[in-house]
């Protein structure tokens, strides 16, 4: 036993003390990699401060910081409205997801349902269905939601949820991914807590709502953070179902803004892109741990 542990200890103690060339190379490679990741964003911010004349030739730094580019970009397109719309969609989808997916996740994790394994398998299979595959029929279903948008009870005659907040929020909320994520977090809670609450006479729903759910608060934040990001960055679905600027989200606004390459005013476009990107970068910097935890949970335990 001792003969086995000794070399390990010895090798462990020699490793960190010496500055080896391999270590320096590692840092150099990682720093170059990190720069490759960050430079495009830096280039975006630098361009946002430049004048129309400055961007005719390649240069790194702007001659002066034109903060006015940001306010002028806001006026060339209804960016403020796009912002509001994106925020509304993100909040709506997140609230809907938290409600639907935590309840379902809890039932899958803690309730003795017949065929519980099959139900879990069902959600895992759905998790693998790419959104692009259901694009066409989803559009038709949303178009024929009964009694909305001039539709009759059979879902015909009108536009249903097209061009509506319902259509933007409900179909894409509550993705199976989040039900699975919630289930993963509930599974790790000990059953004794629920038992103790049962002895105290609390009903099953009360146990879920007042005992178990508060315990997975970090998981709820993880789910919220992922859902906010997904909703904020969504593009294809809003592109399909909105027909007016009234409800268009930010990404759609950006894409419209950059549609005609010959007439793009790059400093304004980069200013708009920077403003659109900033909220998610801030969200990530503050909630880094949640992102990492969430990915790890799905990837590893999944």
């Amino acid at each position: 036993m001792t003969s086995a542990t000794l070399p390990a200890v010895a090798s462990a103690s020699t490793k960190p003390s010496a500055v080896r060339p391999g270590r320096i190379l590692l840092y150099v490679v990682l720093i170059i990699g990190a720069l490759l990741m960050i430079t495009p964003f830096l280039w975006m911010v630098l361009t946002a401060f430049k004048s129309e004349l400055e961007i005719l030739k390649f240069s790194w730094l702007p001659g002066e910081l034109r903060w006015s580019n940001f306010s002028e970009a806001m006026q060339t397109a209804p960016f403020l409205r796009y912002f509001r719309n994106s925020a509304l969609i993100a909040i709506g989808e997140t609230a809907f997801t938290l409600l639907i997916c935590t309840t379902a996740g809890y039932a899958l994790a803690k309730m003795p349902l017949k065929g519980g394994k099959w139900l879990l398998g069902y959600f895992i299979v759905l998790l693998l269905v790419p959104f692009q595959i259901i694009l066409v029929p989803l559009f038709m279903i949303v178009k024929s939601i009964p009694l909305f948008g001039g539709n009759n009870i059979l879902g015909q005659g009108g536009i249903g949820w097209l061009n509506s907040w319902w259509g933007l929020i409900i179909p894409l909320g509550a993705a199976p991914f989040f039900t699975f994520l919630a289930r993963q977090f509930f599974v790790s809670l000990p059953d004794e807590l629920a038992q103790a609450a049962r002895v105290d006479g609390l009903g099953e729903f009360g146990i879920f709502w007042r005992i178990m759910t508060p315990l997975i608060k970090p998981a709820l934040i993880t789910i919220a953070v992922f859902q906010i990001e997904a909703a904020w960055n969504g593009f294809l679905w809003p592109l399909m179902i909105t027909t007016s600027d009234e409800m268009r989200p930010l990404q759609l606004g950006l894409a419209i803004f950059s549609q005609n390459p010959a007439e793009i005013q790059w400093p304004y476009l980069m200013a708009g892109t920077a403003l659109a990107t900033l909220p998610m970068i801030i969200l990530f910097v503050f909630a880094q741990k949640r992102f990492v935890e969430g990915m790890a949970n799905v990837g590893i335990k999944g």
């Binding site: 809890y106 309730m111 259901i134 694009l135 409900i170 950006l254 980069m270 970068i281």
Partner: protein, 312 residues
């Protein structure tokens, strides 16, 4: 004698009481469970399961939003085989997946191994590599559209430092798809790095240490301890990468619209145009079904390759 008789009787009656109690308990649990699960089942049924089934049915029709439609059997499918746009889209998507997936998996595993070496500033590196992933693809595409600008973009500016002639990137049929792949790889690294990093931290220290004792080289340790331990995670990353690359749309829509010519036309763009510009919903559905089949083939082959790799 009497005691031995009594004991089982007691135990039995105690058991039945517990069982009865458990029975009512279970019943109320089952009721609550179904109540909690039903909204999610309804939602996924309406917005995922029905559409998946509907795509299969639609693909056999000539539906196009009108009042009349008819069954066309496999007509859409045979039409697709003669459709040059579809062929270009399928070929470009497959090529995109075949190049982007291996490169991004290898790069992200390498970076994750680097980050797993107890280095300083891990938070900084993690943020740097993950920021492209949290950024909307539309925003990423907009930034790179400007980087690839032939006149005064960063890409040509950077090349000119080394005396290279300017390139037309997205406008040049030879480089357009490759330029998109670079962005796809660049944006997709973050998620994979974080998953690999979490998995690497779960690789058994004992195994690595005993390999050390046996005098294994770094490569041998990686090949025989780390890589096999990453097996399930590799599969997860592979599947999500396959599904992700086949979905490529935002990038192409903003940066090239499938051009120049059809050089960067991909499947989802073709489906989108067939369905929502030409209103050929049945035709687009048939295209979707073929995409599903190709994704399934990719996943199957990927699985076989990984099995072969872990068995040797």
């Amino acid at each position: 004698m009497s005691t031995t008789l009594e004991r089982p009787a007691l135990a039995a009656s105690g058991k039945s009481a517990v069982a009865k109690d458990k029975g009512t308990l279970t019943r109320s649990q089952v009721r609550t469970g179904w109540a909690l699960l039903t909204p999610a089942l309804l939602h996924s049924g309406i917005f995922i399961v029905i559409p998946v089934v509907a795509v299969l049915v639609l693909s056999l029709t000539d539906y196009s939003f009108g009042d009349t439609w008819s069954w066309v059997g496999f007509g859409n499918y045979s039409d697709l085989f003669g459709d040059v746009d579809f062929q270009a889209a399928l070929w470009h998507t497959v090529l995109y997946a075949l190049i982007v997936i291996p490169i991004s998996m290898a790069l992200s595993l390498a970076v994750a191994i680097g980050l797993n070496q107890k280095i300083r500033g891990i938070g900084f590196f993690r943020t740097a590599f993950y920021i492209p992933t949290v950024t909307a693809t539309v925003a990423v595409a907009t930034i790179w559209l400007w980087i690839y600008n032939p006149g005064s973009g960063l890409a040509n500016g950077f090349l000119s430092l080394f005396g290279f002639a300017p390139n037309r990137w997205l406008a040049d049929p030879n480089t357009a798809l490759g330029s998109l792949m670079v962005v796809g790889i660049w944006q997709g690294l973050g998620t994979k790095i974080i998953i690999y990093l979490a998995a690497l931290q779960g690789v058994s220290r004992d195994l690595l240490e005993s390999a050390d004792i046996d005098g294994a080289s770094r490569w041998q340790k990686f090949r025989n301890v780390t890589l096999p331990a990453l097996g399930p995670v590799q599969f997860f990353v592979l599947i999500t990468s396959i599904v992700g690359t086949f979905q490529v749309f935002d990038l192409v829509y903003v940066m090239t619209r499938g051009g120049p010519g059809s050089e960067t036309r991909v499947l989802v763009l073709d489906i989108y145009q067939n369905a929502f510009q030409d209103l050929k919903l049945g035709y687009a559905s048939a295209e979707t079904v073929i995409m599903m089949i190709v994704i399934a083939v990719f996943i199957g082959v990927g699985r076989l390759l990984q099995r072969a790799d872990t068995n040797d």
